[in-house]
């Protein structure tokens, strides 16, 4: 049986994580490649097949919103990992810590003193017009002044080999269970490599998560729960996984009740007080008395109990204002303003359609730009200029003119690639990187990440809802 051969692998045109332009392996992949080359394509395909089976038997499935209920999909895990050396990781770690620290100060400020607005660092209309800005929170400070306890920023690496932050995801970032389960699966796939390479472990994520949640309560043994929309939510696997790994109760809105502004869960032995809620339900749906009146996912009275300090919500409501893609453009200035530092991890250049000059540029250059809706996520509501038709472009121009506040534009970034198994060959597929940060006593970045990969040929959309897959991410000790 012939061994794997990378001589025909195409590493040109984009930054490839494994090979340089001359097809010479990069140092962080050297040992891994040596191991791969001892293997036949068939053996590799067998390992890949075993991985798909393992995901099914673990029940790592999700429903895509547009699909009929009952159709379950796995997020395909490609077994060739993304490997990051320690130097690169340390840089990422520092950059993320800086960013999260500044963003947390920013959120506290806009709901309290609003200094950043008074000093005109960011236009106040920009904040007040954001659909995620919650007026109800003005004057409120959460326990320990922490708003964004859990972050899963999306990073990309451009053709220049530099990391950029694409989105901050301060609301309910998902995917961490895939980081953890992918690792468990790959440890079975390449057991010997973990020893030789010295890969940093990620298993303690759920322990740190529990500590982070408990830290927020003054109670010595607080009752911590995970609030899920239920089994039909696409991330339900993750909700139950995290609850189970943390030893927390997994509740739905209907399991909770608020009496005298205190939150209880309904148990077989009566009511039990709840102290900390890691909620995976969006702000809009947590309390029908305050927000979406039709929400069946929430619990009436929950928000008032929160404002009174009788329960802690994680992440805090109102953090979504940072996820507004127009606010994103101001983050370099926000970091400078609060920390007096230059930003370590750069943003992607962003054009704000609400600003006249930018808008003009965007409309003229729409075929070269990526247009995004400021309040959307998950790869929905976007236009990829270079891959769009004239009609689609016209449609977006009309949308932009009609509601400029709702759109931003960014240059098309050539996402870096990692070799990926495609049937009987290996080809470079575009990837992004979502590391996870936990903000408790300090800000911890777990040394690993979910690497999402665009499996459709040539595609740069990595979202699971749009045909993306995942890779395990190995951070090396050296």
């Amino acid at each position: 049986m012939s061994k794997l051969d990378f001589s025909a692998y195409d590493s040109k045109g984009f930054y490839d994580e494994m090979f340089d332009q001359n097809n010479t392996v990069r140092p962080n992949y050297k040992l891994f490649l040596e191991r791969l080359q001892k293997m036949s394509q068939r053996k590799l395909n067998n390992l890949q097949y075993a991985t798909d089976r393992a995901q099914l038997s673990l029940g790592m499935t999700f429903n895509v919103y547009s699909d009929n209920a009952g159709i379950e999909r796995i997020l395909p895990l490609d077994i060739i990992p993304r490997i990051i050396d320690n130097t690169e990781w340390t840089h990422l770690e520092k950059g993320l810590q800086q960013r999260i620290k500044a963003l947390n100060l920013f959120i506290q400020d806009i709901y309290n003193d609003q200094k950043v607005l008074k000093d005109k660092i960011i236009p106040k209309e920009m904040i007040f017009s954001s659909v995620s800005y919650l007026k109800e929170l003005e004057g409120f400070k959460p326990p320990k002044d922490i708003w964004c306890h859990i972050t899963g920023s999306d990073l990309i690496k451009g053709g220049d080999g530099q990391y950029y932050v694409l989105e901050d995801n301060l609301r309910c970032p998902s995917g961490v269970s895939y980081m953890l389960e992918n690792r468990e699966i790959l440890k079975r796939t390449f057991p010997e490599l973990f020893e030789t390479l010295g890969v940093k472990p990620v298993y303690n994520y759920t322990h740190i998560l529990r500590d982070t949640l408990e830290y927020l309560s003054d109670d010595e043994k607080p009752t911590v729960v995970v609030l899920t929309p239920g089994i039909y939510n696409s991330a339900y696997f993750e909700h139950s996984y995290l609850a189970q790994q943390m030893g927390a109760e997994l509740v739905e809105g209907r399991d909770l009740i608020v009496k005298d502004d205190v939150v209880y869960m309904i148990t077989t032995n009566g009511l039990k007080r709840v102290d900390v809620i890691y909620r995976r339900v969006d702000d809009e749906f947590i309390d029908p008395q305050v927000f979406n009146k039709n929400s069946l996912l929430g619990t009436p009275g929950l928000f008032k109990a929160y404002l009174k300090g009788n329960v802690t919500l994680v992440n805090a409501p109102g953090t979504g204002v940072v996820d507004d893609k127009a606010v994103y453009a101001y983050i370099p200035r926000i970091i400078k303003y609060y920390l007096g530092e230059d930003m370590i991890l750069p943003n992607v250049k962003t054009y704000i359609c609400d600003e006249e000059q930018d808008r003009k540029y965007v409309i003229e250059n729409i075929h070269n730009l990526v247009i995004k809706q400021t309040d959307a996520s998950g790869g929905y509501g976007m236009l990829i200029g270079p891959k769009s038709t004239k009609n689609e472009q016209e449609e977006f121009i009309a949308k932009i003119k009609h509601n400029p506040r709702n759109y931003i534009a960014q240059p098309m970034i050539n996402l870096s690639r990692v070799p990926t198994i495609k049937d009987d060959t290996i080809e470079g597929c575009h990837v992004d990187l979502r590391p996870y940060a936990l903000y408790g006593e300090d800000i911890k970045i777990i040394p690993g990440a979910l690497t999402r990969v665009a499996l459709k040929k040539g595609s740069i959309v990595v979202n699971s809802s749009q045909g993306g897959g995942s890779k395990d991410t190995w951070v090396l000790n050296s």
């Binding site: 029940g59 239920g230 089994i231 139950s240 609850a243 189970q244 509740v251 399991d255 148990t267 077989t268």
Partner: protein, 317 residues
């Protein structure tokens, strides 16, 4: 434990027990049909009657045919009690109480789901495939019971699981006995004939009771068989044994063993006591069918009372 979660665990275990029972009923019937004169209606209709879903079957099909009945009980999506639906429901329940069960149990329920899904998607099924399928369902469920007992702590959740399992099992044993007994006593075969013996043995095998029955009673007689399946204290599928074990769980859950602290405990204790102090001749005089019918009604009453006592907690705002 959350009331919703307790209810879900209870039903998850009822569904699993139901699926396993159906698989066994069909497997035994299959075996039996090979040795009897061909008469599809006579051989297969009682199976659907046992499950209580004959009216639904009649609304879908004009007559009792072997293949249709097998499909109806194993895969029919419109039949809420088909093996397929039981496993799908059990898995959905397991998913929503994932934090209460272990990785072993979850993965095994998941494996059962893929088994039943593959079975239902098959275009053609020959008899050997089907028997293999029933065996795999049966084995898969029993493996699951073992995992449940070997990996889950004896806390509230486990007791709700056992409560669901034993109430379902008692119900199924009573139903299979009810229908088969009636059918056998009214059959034209001479009592004691070869055909008759095969049928009585099949009844025992439908509830995995053949070996233990032979060990205890030796000879196959209708009254000993009825006695064994209703009143035996030691056999794990007899109605009384199921009630004894269900009561142990409800006592733990209610927190009191003297008297009763809720209606579910009261009704369960009363039914158990009734079976402890009756003998088989009394039952035969009253009429087996009437007696079993009454047991089934009481089991339904107990299930409702469990719901009211533990799952539907009234909350005053």
């Amino acid at each position: 434990m959350l009331g919703r979660v307790a209810n879900t665990i209870y039903w998850m275990n009822r569904y699993l027990e139901r699926a396993e029972n159906y698989a066994r009923f069909m497997d035994v019937n299959f075996n039996l049909s090979l040795e009897l004169p061909p008469n599809e209606e006579e051989q297969w209709k009682p199976l659907v009657v046992i499950t209580g879903d004959w009216p639904l079957y009649e609304s879908l099909h004009t007559k009792a045919e072997k293949n249709k009945i097998i499909y109806f009980m194993a895969f029919e999506e419109q039949n809420p009690n088909s093996i397929y639906n039981c496993i799908v429901n059990a898995r959905e329940n397991a998913r929503s109480v994932r934090t209460e069960i272990t990785k072993e149990v979850w993965e095994q329920i998941n494996a059962l789901y893929y088994l039943v899904k593959a079975g239902s998607e098959k275009k053609k099924r020959n008899d050997a495939d089907l028997r293999q399928f029933f065996t795999e369902i049966k084995n898969g469920c029993q493996l699951l019971y073992g995992m449940y007992d070997a990996t889950i702590s004896r806390t509230e959740g486990w007791n709700f699981a056992k409560l669901g399992q034993f109430i379902e099992r008692a119900d199924k044993t009573s139903r299979v006995l009810d229908v088969k007994y009636y059918f056998l006593l009214s059959s034209p075969n001479k009592v004691g004939s070869t055909l008759d013996l095969i049928q009585w043995a099949a009844l025992l095998k439908s509830v995995s009771a053949y070996d233990m029955y032979r060990k205890k009673h030796g000879k196959l007689t209708s009254s000993s068989i009825a006695e064994f399946l209703i009143l035996d204290r030691e056999f794990p599928r007899s109605i009384l044994n199921c009630l004894i074990r269900a009561e142990q769980s409800i006592i733990t859950l209610s927190g009191s063993s003297s008297g009763f602290s809720n209606s579910a405990q009261k009704q369960l204790g009363a039914l158990k006591a009734q079976l402890e102090y009756v003998d088989i001749d009394d039952i035969i005089i009253q009429g087996i069918h009437e007696y079993l019918d009454d047991i089934q009604l009481k089991l339904n009453g107990i299930s409702t009372a469990i719901y009211e006592a533990f799952f539907a907690i009234e909350v005053t705002h």
